[in-house]
C-alpha cells in the first residue's frame, strides 16, 4: 500500500448543507490538506430546496446551487447518484451501495431528513406522494395533470406550500391537519384562525382537528377517510406531516442518536464516534433537530472551523420563518409562543382585514422576544432583526404593529443586527457593501448573499440600502427631470386621471418651465399609449425625438434609416424585390438586421416620403424601428416546415407583431416565438418570449439582450391561443402603465415589489382586478391602430416638414456626402460645417 500523504475527507449527502460545507472548506483552505469526496444520493448536484416549489415555474436548472455539477477545486470530487450504505468508525471506512469501500480521515454526515409518512393503511398506494425532491415534484406535476381533487396531509408550513402548489396545478385541494390550527408550530390560535381565513380564500378546503384513518383505493388512490368516518373522494395525496432526520447510517454504526432522532452531536458537531461529524437536518445538537437551512449553514461553517482547529460553537439558532405562500403573509420569529418566563404579549387583531400581529415582550418591557404576524408581515425583517440584536424597544412598542404607523420605519437597527438569517448578514455588512460600491439592493444581494436564499429579508435589505443612501445625503431622486418631480409611472396616472391631451396642459398643471429632451418624449409616449393619435399631430410634433419626428432612425451623418415591418420575419419574394428596387433607386445601403428584417440606410430626410410612398404602395407599413414601441416579434420556422416544431410559431409571431405594432411603451419592446424547446427564435432573450409545447404555449417575460442581458422567466405554461393573448395584453399594458422611462421589462420586473410573483398575481391571478381594464386598454390600441407612414404621406401638413431647407426645399444639405465601401454607400467623415458661399440661389419669401 502506497503511503498517502494527503488526508481524505468524505462528505455523505450533497444537499444544501453538504454543498455549503464544501464551499466553506474550499474557501478556508481545507482542501490544501484534504482530498474531499462528496457522495450524493440524488442524481443532480445540490439545489435550492427552500425554493423547491418554484421548480414548477423556473425548472430544475435555475434551482441548482452548482450549475455544471463540478467544483472548480480539483481536489474536490463530487460523486452523484452514489449512496453510502454503511459506515465503520473503527476502520474509518464508508461502504457504498455498490460495495465499493472508501477510507476516510474525517467523515461528515449531511444526509438531511426524509418526509415522515404516517403508517395509515393505503399510504403506499399509487397516487401518494411526498414533497422533498425535484423528482417528487415532477411526479406530482404528472399526476396533477390527470387529477381533479387531491389532499395534502399536514397543515404546517410545508403542507400549506405544497397545497398551494397543488392548487396552482389545477387540482382542487384539501388540507388535513390533526391539530386544531394550521401552522401550529409557528402561530397561536388567534393567528391560526385568521390564517385559515386567508387560506380558504385561496380556494383550499381546510380540515383541522381531523385524523386520517385510511387512504382508500385498490392499487390507486380513490379517497381519504377521516377517523370520524367521513370520506372525501380524491385521486392524489401528498404527505407533509413533518420530517425525520436520516440518521440510519449512524444508528447502524452504533453512533449515538437523539431520543427524537438525529445524530447526537456536541457544540462543535462531533458525534459520539471519533472523526465523525454531522451537520444539517440529520444532526441533533444537544438532542434537538433543526428543520431550517440557516442553522445547517451555521453548522457547516463550524465544522470547517473545527477541522482548522477553530473554536466556533453552535448554540442554537433563529427559528424564524415566513411562509412563501402567494398573497398570504405569515411569519413567526423568536419566542413566538411566549414561553419565556413572565413575558407579556402585545396583540393587534383585525379580523375584518385579516390581520393579526402579536409581539412577545420581556417582563421589563425593554426587549422584543418574538412574535407572530398574519396578514401583514411587512415588519418581519425589522422585528426579527430586533430580536436577534437584543436592541432596546422604543417607548411605544405598539407603534411597531399598528397599521400604517411610522414607528417601524423610525427604528434604527444597530449595525450588528442580523438582517438575513439564512446567510447571517448584518446591517453593518449591508452598509459596508454600499460603501464598497454597491448602488442597489440587487447588488448587495450578489455581493453579501443577503436575500439570496429564502428571500424573506429582501424588503428589509432594500430599505437599509435606501436609508443608507439618504443618510449619506445621496438623495435617491425619482424625478424625471427638472421640469417634473415625478416618475414616468406617476405621470402616466396623472395624465390618465385628468384626461390631459397636450404637453402644455400637463406642464402647466404639474410641472415647471418648458420641458426638455427628457420629459417631452416621455409625455409624447404617455399620450400616444393612451390616445393612440398620430405622433406627428400638430401639438405633439415638437415633443418627439428626431426619430419619432421623422418616423425614421437618425444616423451619424444626419441621414435616416428606413425599416419596413416584416412581421415575424416572413416575406414574399415580390416584397423582397420591392425592397431591393427601392434601395437601388434611392441609392441606399442595405443590411439584414438582428431583428429578422431589412434596414435601408443613408436616406436624406427629404427623400423619406418618396421612399415610403413606394413602400406603402407595395403593401409595406412602418416597422417602428425608430419608436419606443414594439419592434419585432422574431420567429422560427416552426411546425410548418421544421421536423421538430409542435406549433405554428410563424403564424403566432405574425399575429402578435400585428396586434402590438405601434404600441408606445417606456422602452422598446421585442418578442419572439419558437416552435419547440430548441428555441431557435431566441424567445427567452426578448421582453416576451413564447415557446411552443405539445399542449399550447409557454409564456416567458422579461428577457433582454443589450447591455444587461437577462433570460426571460416563465410566467405561465401550456396556454391556449386566447389565454396567451389575454395574459400578454395584461402584461404589456401593466408595464406601459408602471414602467419607468427607458426601463426595459427585465429591469422593470426586477424593480417591482414582489418581482415576477407580483407580475403573476396581476396578470395570471388578476389579484388587483385590473385584468379587464388592461385588456380593454389594449383592445383600444388594436382598434385604433393605423400606419403612421401611410397617414403621413397622405397629409400635406405633415409632409411640409420633410424638406431639407425651409427656403430651398429641393436643395440637398451639402454637409452630407458619401464614400463607397464593399459596393455600397457609407457616410464620409465631416470635418466642419460646409459653407456654400453666397452664390446659391435661395427662394425669395
Amino acid at each position: 500500500m502506497s503511503p498517502h500523504l494527503r488526508k481524505r475527507l468524505v462528505v455523505v449527502g450533497h444537499g444544501m448543507v453538504g454543498h455549503r460545507f464544501v464551499q466553506a472548506a474550499v474557501e478556508r483552505g481545507l482542501s490544501e490538506t484534504y482530498d474531499i469526496v462528496v457522495l450524493g444520493e440524488e442524481v443532480r448536484a445540490a439545489y435550492d430546496r427552500v425554493a423547491l416549489t418554484s421548480f414548477f415555474e423556473v425548472g430544475a436548472d435555475r434551482l441548482s446551487l452548482l450549475p455544471g455539477g463540478v467544483y472548480d477545486d480539483p481536489r474536490v470530487s463530487l460523486r452523484l447518484g452514489t449512496s453510502a450504505a454503511s459506515v465503520d468508525p473503527a476502520t474509518r471506512t464508508v461502504v457504498l451501495t455498490t460495495g465499493e469501500e472508501l477510507s476516510y480521515d474525517e467523515l461528515v454526515l449531511a444526509t438531511g431528513s426524509a418526509p415522515f409518512v404516517p403508517p395509515v393503511p393505503g399510504h403506499d398506494l399509487e397516487g401518494t406522494f411526498v414533497y422533498r425532491t425535484i423528482e417528487d415534484l415532477e411526479a406530482i406535476r404528472d399526476a396533477a395533470a390527470g387529477a381533479t381533487v387531491g389532499a395534502v396531509i399536514g397543515g404546517g408550513l410545508l403542507g400549506l406550500e405544497a397545497a398551494n402548489a397543488l392548487r396552482q396545478l389545477g387540482v382542487e385541494t384539501h388540507v388535513v391537519e390533526m391539530n386544531p390550527r394550521l401552522m401550529s408550530a409557528q402561530v397561536d390560535d388567534a393567528g391560526g384562525r385568521i390564517l385559515a381565513g386567508h387560506v380558504e380564500k385561496l380556494g383550499l378546503t381546510i380540515h383541522t382537528s381531523k385524523a386520517t384513518e385510511r387512504i382508500e383505493g385498490d392499487g390507486r388512490v380513490t379517497g381519504l377517510t377521516f377517523a370520524s368516518g367521513e370520506t372525501v373522494p380524491l385521486e392524489m395525496v401528498v404527505f407533509s406531516a413533518g420530517v425525520r432526520p436520516r440518521d440510519q447510517l449512524a444508528r447502524a454504526a452504533g453512533i449515538a442518536v437523539a431520543e427524537r432522532g438525529g445524530v447526537l452531536v456536541d457544540e462543535q458537531l462531533r458525534s459520539s464516534a471519533d472523526h465523525v461529524w454531522a451537520i444539517g437536518e440529520c444532526a441533533a445538537p444537544a438532542g434537538r433537530m433543526y428543520g431550517l437551512v440557516a442553522p445547517g449553514y451555521t453548522m457547516a461553517e463550524i465544522v470547517v472551523d473545527a477541522l482548522l482547529d477553530g473554536a466556533g460553537t453552535f448554540t442554537g439558532a433563529d427559528m424564524s420563518t415566513k411562509l412563501k405562500l402567494l398573497g398570504v403573509d405569515v411569519a413567526s420569529f423568536g419566542d413566538a409562543h411566549g414561553t419565556t418566563a413572565d413575558s407579556v404579549d402585545l396583540v393587534f387583531s383585525d379580523a375584518v382585514a385579516g390581520v393579526y400581529k402579536k409581539l412577545v415582550i420581556s417582563d421589563d418591557g425593554k426587549h422584543l422576544l418574538g412574535g407572530v404576524l398574519v396578514g401583514d408581515a411587512s415588519a418581519y425583517g425589522l422585528l426579527r432583526a430586533m430580536v436577534s440584536s437584543h436592541m432596546e424597544l422604543p417607548a411605544n412598542p405598539e407603534e411597531l404593529i399598528l397599521p400604517a404607523s411610522s414607528g417601524a420605519s423610525a427604528v434604527a437597527l444597530p449595525a450588528e443586527a442580523v438582517v438575513c438569517s439564512c446567510n447571517t448578514v448584518t446591517k453593518g455588512e449591508i452598509e459596508g457593501a454600499v460603501d464598497g460600491g454597491c448602488d442597489s439592493a440587487a447588488c448587495v444581494t450578489t455581493c453579501t448573499q443577503a436575500g439570496a436564499t429564502c428571500g424573506s429579508c429582501k424588503p428589509q435589505v432594500k430599505k437599509i440600502v435606501e436609508d443608507y443612501f439618504t443618510s449619506q445625503g445621496v438623495v435617491v431622486d425619482r424625478s424625471l427631470c427638472e421640469h417634473f418631480s415625478m416618475t414616468r409611472a406617476e405621470l402616466f396616472d396623472v395624465v390618465l386621471v385628468h384626461g390631459y391631451r397636450s404637453f402644455d396642459e400637463i406642464v402647466q398643471a404639474h410641472g415647471r418651465g418648458r420641458g426638455c429632451d427628457i420629459c417631452k418624449p416621455v409625455v409624447a409616449s404617455v399620450l400616444a399609449s393612451q390616445l393612440n393619435g398620430h405622433v406627428l399631430a400638430q401639438d405633439n410634433r415638437p415633443l418627439q425625438d428626431t426619430n419619432d419626428a421623422f418616423l425614421a432612425n437618425i444616423q451619424r451623418n444626419g441621414t435616416y434609416s428606413v425599416v419596413p415591418r416584416i412581421a415575424g420575419g416572413e416575406i414574399t419574394p415580390e416584397k423582397l424585390i420591392v425592397i431591393g428596387e427601392v434601395a437601388r433607386d434611392f441609392g441606399l445601403y442595405t443590411k439584414i438586421t438582428g431583428g429578422q428584417r431589412i434596414d435601408m440606410f443613408g436616406a436624406r430626410m427629404e427623400q423619406l416620403p418618396a421612399i415610403w410612398k413606394r413602400l406603402v404602395d407595395a403593401g409595406f407599413e412602418s416597422g417602428h424601428a425608430y419608436g419606443k414601441a414594439l419592434r419585432t416579434v422574431k420567429s422560427c420556422v416552426g411546425s410548418t416546415w421544421c421536423r421538430y416544431g409542435v406549433q405554428d410559431s410563424v403564424a403566432m409571431a405574425i399575429a402578435l407583431e400585428l396586434r402590438y405594432r405601434g404600441l408606445r411603451s417606456p422602452h422598446k419592446l421585442k418578442g419572439g416565438v419558437s416552435g419547440c424547446a430548441r428555441e431557435c427564435a431566441e424567445a427567452r432573450g426578448k421582453d416576451f418570449g413564447i415557446i411552443a409545447t405539445e399542449k399550447g404555449w409557454n409564456l416567458y417575460v422579461g428577457g433582454n439582450g443589450g447591455a444587461v442581458p437577462a433570460h426571460a422567466q416563465l410566467l405561465a405554461s401550456d396556454l391556449d391561443d386566447n389565454t396567451l393573448v389575454r395574459y400578454l395584453d395584461r402584461f404589456l399594458m401593466y408595464y406601459i402603465r408602471t414602467g419607468d422611462r427607458l426601463q426595459r421589462t427585465s429591469t422593470w420586473i426586477g424593480a417591482l415589489d414582489g418581482g415576477l410573483e407580483r407580475v403573476r398575481e396581476i396578470v395570471v391571478d388578476d389579484a388587483l382586478g385590473l385584468g379587464s381594464e388592461l385588456e380593454a386598454a389594449m383592445a383600444r390600441h388594436v382598434d385604433t391602430y393605423f400606419d403612421e407612414w401611410k397617414a403621413t404621406i397622405e397629409d400635406p401638413e405633415k409632409m411640409r416638414k420633410f424638406v431639407s431647407f425651409v427656403n430651398a426645399p429641393g436643395t440637398p444639405d451639402p454637409n452630407i456626402a458619401f464614400d463607397t465601401s464593399r459596393d455600397q454607400i457609407v457616410p464620409s467623415p465631416s470635418a466642419g460645417p460646409v459653407s456654400l458661399g453666397a452664390t446659391i440661389s435661395v427662394r425669395e419669401s
Binding site: 418651465g513 415633443l543 451619424r556 431647407f805 466642419g832 460646409v834 435661395v842 419669401s845
Partner: protein, 119 residues
C-alpha cells in the same frame, strides 16, 4: 441683432412656418442655419452644425428650458446649446455660431454670422 443692417438680413420663412418650440433649417448667407421659435415666440438662429456629432442636424433637436435658459438638445447625442448665445450648456468651452434674427411683418429675417463658434 443691432449689428446687422437691414440690407444684410435675408427673409427665410414666415414665423408660422416654424412650430412653437420647434426648428427649421434654412440656407442664409451660404450657411446652413437652424432657426428656432420658443414658446413665447422669440426666434433664435444658430449654425445647424453639431460640433460634437459633426453633422448638420441641430434644427431637428428638442427645444426646451434649463432653468430660464432656452436651449436645443442635439438629436444625435443630446448636448444642449443655449439658443441665445450658442454656448453648450454641458461644456462651456464649446459654442456654435449664432446669427442675428428678427421677425418683421410675420417674416423671419436672418443676418450674417455674428458670434463665431470654436467648433
Amino acid at each position: 441683432m443691432s449689428d446687422a443692417t437691414t440690407e444684410q438680413l435675408v427673409a427665410v420663412c414666415a414665423l408660422e412656418d416654424i412650430d412653437r418650440e420647434g426648428g427649421v433649417a434654412a440656407l442664409a448667407h451660404g450657411d446652413v442655419v437652424a432657426v428656432f421659435r420658443t414658446y413665447d415666440d422669440h426666434v433664435h438662429a444658430l449654425s445647424n452644425y453639431d460640433p460634437f456629432g459633426h453633422a448638420s442636424v441641430l434644427s431637428r433637436g428638442i427645444v426646451g428650458t434649463r432653468g430660464d435658459r432656452p436651449f436645443v438638445a442635439s438629436p444625435l447625442h443630446k448636448q444642449a446649446f443655449d439658443l441665445r448665445t450658442g454656448v453648450c450648456l454641458d461644456d462651456d468651452t464649446v459654442r456654435v455660431t449664432t446669427y442675428p434674427v428678427v421677425v418683421r411683418d410675420g417674416q423671419v429675417l436672418v443676418g450674417p454670422a455674428s458670434g463665431t463658434g470654436r467648433a
